[in-house]
């Protein structure tokens, strides 16, 4: 498998504090990779660096061999990366459908064609009954799904999901997991996700990258990672292995 995304030596400091330090990893084309680690490990910063929201101090990001670092977020989106925000950012006054439509318009300049795409994505994520509601009125789990819908509507090659399972109930988590896996299998959509819900990480990911204090400490299959003593010490805690 060739690598769709390659992150090499990514480094970012905020006022002298290293949020991300020399992080390198790759996401193979068609794979699902999880980024885990304790709070403050630099996961979201890594996402922001990949998505172009934050410029790195050093290192580079490559999508299918093309250098992305230094590009603005809209250019990164055009290159084929769709992202969600950990703290959801719906367009509050727009309807749910129009929220997704805005994403769909990226690759489909004509509103009719984009609307058809938006409706298909809403259907896929089970948001169709809420299509006419204002995004502001949605519950948190629905807003999380809307985030995914917006990003998906831009028809990315790589989807960056920042804690989209957080706050979801067990059944909702399972639904999201099966949905993502289905997408991955059917459309070969490559996914990089930040997740604290280990149940989802275990079920979904082909590989897991563990960050701590801005550094990559472990990388491997989910089964390898959860028994790794370093991961247990810094993140999972002894009890969660059982």
């Amino acid at each position: 498998m060739t690598n769709l995304l390659e992150v090499r030596g990514l480094t970012k400091s905020f006022r002298g504090l290293k949020a991300v330090a020399d992080v390198s990893f790759a996401v193979p084309d068609g794979a699902i990779v999880a980024l885990i680690g304790p709070n403050g490990a630099g996961k979201t910063t890594t996402f922001n660096l990949i998505a172009g929201a934050v410029a790195p101090n050093a290192g580079e990001v490559l999508l299918a061999g093309r250098r992305l670092s230094g590009l603005r977020p809209d250019r990164v989106c055009a290159a084929g990366i769709g992202r969600t925000f950990q703290i959801v950012r719906p367009f509050g006054d727009l309807s749910v459908e129009d929220n997704v439509l805005v994403g769909a318009l990226h690759r489909r300049p004509h509103v009719e064609s984009a609307r058809a795409k938006a409706r298909a994505v809403l259907e896929l994520l089970g948001l169709k009954p809420l299509a006419g509601q204002r995004a502001r009125s949605l519950t948190l789990p629905d807003r999380k799904r809307l985030e995914v819908a917006k990003a998906l509507a831009t028809e990315p090659r790589l989807l960056l999901l920042d804690e989209v399972m957080a706050g979801l109930r067990l059944t909702e988590t399972d639904h999201m997991v099966s949905l993502l896996r289905d997408l991955n299998r059917r459309t070969r959509l490559t996914i990089l996700l930040i997740e604290h819900v280990m149940r989802a990480v275990m079920k979904l990911s082909d590989r897991v990258v563990v960050l701590d204090h801005g550094e990559k400490i472990v990388e491997g299959s989910p089964q390898e990672v959860v028994v790794d003593p370093r991961v247990i010490e810094c993140y999972l805690g002894a009890e969660s292995v059982a």
């Binding site: 989106c77 006054d93 727009l94 318009l105």
Partner: protein, 349 residues
């Protein structure tokens, strides 16, 4: 109208119900017939009303749709007015040619503000201050350009007010009334068209959350700049109308901050970000002011600034009790629009 499905209409940002269209039709017919019955005073009040509604519509493109607050829109009014007036006074070139220069000059000024503001990440209140600064600088600058009459004003020769010469924009008050009515309707149509297209949705996305919009591939700088350019050019057309209607231009008046605020009033009262808000706001505010003037007149009371005082009071009440403006809730209540079809800017963060 019947050829369009209700869905398509809703997507175009109009969101009118069948009943809404009927009311709109009656309103339009009444406006078309007004000059046949109205006296010249009534006509001049309506002309001013429509002029502010038109400017409000233009301002709404920038603030209501794209979320960029301008408190210096008098700049574009003045630049449009002076451009066309200068061409006419000095070279005898008519307003319909001058309007292009007016739009160009205003758009260039808008581009300067936009590029400065958006490139250097000047946002919100600070961006609004930038728009004021440009208008004020221009006001002071124009007072010293003797070729444009300086502070003493630029005057257009008033030839006659009997025969209608549409090409020269010279004629009766009724002609001017119809011109501004057509402009107002054209602005309404243009806005409706823009809202139903990619640019309209992108503007609203930027207004709601700029970072989220950018993450969905929107070139935020480009679309914000487009909003400023379109709004500035539209506003300049209103300026050209002003020049040929009033025939005199003073920098102190036309570029004044109070004019910029006046442009916004109708929209605030009607509903920022809505399609019909600016026009509707005008039809609320102006009659209110006229009624007040009339009743004070009858009572023999002379209070300078009473109208402005009442405007201020109305504005405070709207901001507190109906931050979305009067139009959205009223139109829904009367069944003129479909629920949540009119894009509305809420005051909530």
């Amino acid at each position: 109208m019947s050829a369009l499905s209700s869905d398509a209409l809703s997507q175009a940002g109009a969101g009118l119900t069948a009943r809404g269209w009927r009311v709109f039709g009656v309103w339009l017919a009444a406006l078309l017939l007004v000059p046949t019955v109205a006296d010249s005073y009534f006509l001049s009040v309506l002309t001013t009303l429509l002029w502010f509604a038109y400017l409000g519509q233009a301002w709404n493109v920038m603030m209501g749709f794209a979320g960029q607050l301008s408190l210096g829109h008098s700049l574009y009014v003045g630049l449009g007015a002076y451009s066309a007036a200068a061409l006419f006074v000095h070279f005898g070139i008519g307003p319909w040619a001058g309007v292009w220069l007016g739009m160009l000059v205003a758009a260039l000024a808008g581009a300067a503000i936009g590029v400065l503001g958006f490139r250097f990440r000047v946002r919100g209140v600070y961006f609004a201050l930038l728009t004021i600064a440009f208008a004020e600088l221009t006001r002071i600058g124009f007072s010293h350009i003797s070729w444009l009459g300086g502070a003493g004003g630029l005057f257009l020769p008033v030839s006659q007010r009997v025969n209608n010469d549409l090409a020269g924009l010279r004629g009766t008050p009724a002609m001017f009334y119809y011109v501004i009515l057509v402009l107002t309707l054209a602005a309404l149509l243009l806005c409706r068209w823009l809202l139903g297209r990619r640019i309209g949705y992108y503007w609203q996305a930027i207004r709601e959350d700029q970072e989220a919009a950018q993450a969905l591939g929107i070139d935020v700088f480009r679309y914000k700049l487009a909003a400023v350019l379109i709004s500035a050019a539209m506003t300049a057309v209103g300026g050209v109308f002003y020049a040929f209607f009033y025939n005199n231009l003073f920098p102190e008046q036309i570029f004044s901050l109070s004019r910029s605020i006046e442009i916004i009033l109708d929209v605030l009262i009607g509903g920022i970000g809505t399609l019909f808000g600016p026009v509707f706001g005008g039809f609320v505010l102006t009659p209110l002011g006229e009624l007040l003037t009339w009743s004070l007149d009858r009572a023999g009371i002379n209070i300078p600034g009473a109208k402005q005082f009442v405007y201020g009071g109305v504005l405070v009440a709207i901001v507190i009790f109906l931050p979305d403006g009067i139009w959205p809730p009223l139109a829904r209540r009367l069944g003129l629009t479909r629920a949540s079809s009119d894009p509305v800017r809420s005051s909530e963060p």
